[in-house]
Symmetry: C2
Subunit: 206 residues, 2 copies
DNA sequence: TGCGATGCCGTACGCTGTACGATAGATTAA
DNA sequence: TTAATCTATCGTACAGCGTACGGCATCGCA
């Protein structure tokens, strides 16, 4: 019985009283939950549709197949990562870098499957702007910090890439290896490794 | 016609004149070629068996299903990575770190699918020894360097983890982001980023 | 009232991994 | 020599996947 009447209540009934955008959001949300809880291989079109009480093919109306669903999940992931890091760091201060870094790592450890999907997802080559990808806040902060120090022009751009890039590469290395279980030697000393890393690659040092 | 006579020639005929270990190697080799050329999703049991002219189920005699095949590919990959880095670096020298690093990155860029498989592959938790995983040479070299400086005991172990770990994390971050196409901003300046990274995290600096 | 547009989804096709069991050749025992 | 056993091979089948296709029910508008 498609498109009946409003039908405001009932778990799967919510579907009815939602517009197009909301329905896509519902699909992505269910997919993210499945991804977190049971891994990428559990995010099947059938499973997602089943959880929403709709036919498998219905989801194709709101999302461009499985590839499109992955793309939406990646987008949502970068948004969440970006917001989390933004909230946790304060512009330019050394403690700010550390706060942002911890937020970044927390996201990766809390959502390992999503994080992997985000960084395995092929990024279009014509996006010369690497700032995309959820790390805009980092670059913006570094920019502000350096501008406050009087830098500008090409030198500024170069320094931004060097410092923010370096910082981000280190963070991603930590996150990625932590997820893969490669940092077991630490015996719980992930904090130490992070501190050591920050000492060496913090955007404040030349 | 199983287990006929030697039959030394012919492409698929080689299969006959091979022992158990050699046949597994042949399977893994074909799988690695498929992985490099057409991605992980192309490494199907049927495709691998087909390339060897054997029935799909036959490969199960030599490899423990798809999971086992992945495991064998990962093993082969770490072996190759380890050898490449070992050959390219000379103990302790600053140029040595750089050579090893370049070899590491070259492997990752030349075999992105394999590299991803290697570092996505779940590592057993009871392998407290992270040295496993193809980076033993790095840790060994750092150890030698530090021992030559007179360090020993717990301080030595701690320094090894701090310095080699830091170095490796940076390398993996670079490799991983390069594969994902996240380093496009460089405009071909990957070397610059590597140099900057080496300046900051080389195992020689405290 | 009629009718095109829109959302829904049952069915079907080709693909996957792999469990099972039949078969055929090699090896060993009598 | 002959019979029994073992081993490698793989044809078949099943469940599950993504998704193309087409039929359907309902809505918005004329």
């Amino acid at each position: 019985m498609p498109r009946k009447t409003p039908k405001p209540t009932s778990a799967a009934g919510r579907w009815q009283s939602a517009d197009h955008a909301q329905r896509r959001t519902m699909i992505v949300k269910v997919a993210l939950k499945l991804l977190d809880e049971r891994g990428l291989s559990a995010v099947t079109m059938r499973a997602v549709a089943g959880k929403l009480g709709i036919g498998a093919m219905t989801s194709y109306t709101y999302v461009d197949g499985q590839g499109g669903l992955h793309r939406e999940m990646v987008r949502a992931g970068f948004e969440q990562l970006s917001q989390g890091c933004d909230a946790a760091s304060t512009l330019g201060t050394s403690a700010g870098w550390r706060g942002g870094a911890k937020a970044y790592l927390r996201f990766a450890v809390d959502h390992p499957n999503l994080y992997k999907l985000m960084f395995d997802y092929p990024m279009p080559d014509d996006d010369r702007d690497v700032l995309r990808g959820g790390i805009e806040p980092l670059f913006t902060k570094v920019r502000g910090r350096l501008e406050a120090q009087g830098l500008s022009g090409p030198a500024l751009e170069k320094q931004i890439i060097a410092r923010a890039g370096r910082f981000w590469i280190a963070l991603h290395g930590l996150a990625s290896l932590a997820i893969a279980g490669r940092l077991a030697v630490l015996d719980g000393g992930a904090d130490e490794l992070l501190d050591d890393m920050l000492r060496h690659v913090a955007p404040d040092s030349a």
